[in-house]
Symmetry: C2
Subunit: 140 residues, 2 copies
DNA sequence: GCTATAATTGAAAAACGTTTTCATTATGAC
DNA sequence: GTCATAATGAAAACGTTTTTCAATTATAGC
């Protein structure tokens, strides 16, 4: 179960397991849509009533540091998070509801390296994201 | 000259030409590195002493609305702007100095459409950006 | 060129998201 | 159970962006 492996990862890195962290991890490990800190806060208070927004920020920070979640940049904002893809994958995001799918880019790395060479750049990272409407939001 | 065509575009859209706008346009039309509002402000005050930061924000907003500049998302922040590419191009950005190059993606659109289809999404936009070090910053 | 009108300006204040501070609480090792 | 200390939530601080507002300035019409 993902939740437990995330909690183990926190523990193995010297972080304590608290009810606040359990609740945030439970939410983030299973979300299929990108959530920003306030959304995580709102959707987690039911499971952890006393939860503070500050703690959400701090927990997201740790999960990102451990590579369990990743920040997602969208036209409407750049503070939402998703569970990280396994290996390097690219994102397909619904503009309406934030639902995300991962996809693989066949041999894009080769192309990216060539572009870098042609411009004299050394490439260290790339972002590839597609935006559109998911099946559910198309129907609305 | 780019500056004049930008000023004409502003005028044709009902905006007045002021010394503040001329100064910001002069700066943005020629920059090769992504600049955020504060950087534009600092680098434009010499040419327009009384300039206010608020006016920089408002002018950038109009230039973006007219499609003359585009917002650039980077690992370190998402509030910098570059002159827009002609046609749809992709970005190669230096992590150190913000210098940007545009490049074309051969037949990526076809690939993107296929990914959308496979997931039942209709694709309306895509972002492709490479990050690395430009020749100048590699030497440092 | 002069005037009238309305857009634009900069300063200050407000709003917003995020981070820091700090006293209190709770975890985990012993 | 005790203890050291990590983690918490409330409040305050912070930096960025937006709004408000009175004064200024560009432009169209004369």
């Amino acid at each position: 179960m993902t939740t437990n492996s995330w909690l183990t990862a926190l523990q193995e890195n010297g972080y304590r397991l608290t009810s606040a962290r359990r609740a945030v991890v439970e939410k983030m490990a299973h979300t299929r849509t990108a959530l920003n800190p306030l959304e995580v806060y709102d959707q987690t208070r039911a499971a952890c009533p006393g939860l503070g927004l500050v703690t959400v920020y701090r927990t997201l920070e740790k999960l990102e540091e451990l590579g369990l979640i990743q920040r997602v940049h969208q036209p409407g904002g750049c503070n939402a998070y998703l569970p990280s893809a396994h290996g390097h994958q690219h994102l397909l995001i619904c503009r309406a509801c934030g639902k995300a799918e991962y996809f693989e880019g066949d041999n894009l790395d080769e192309f990216f390296a060539r572009v870098g060479q042609q411009n004299g750049f050394t490439i260290s990272e790339h972002w590839l994201q597609l935006f559109g409407l998911c099946p559910t939001c198309q129907a609305k």
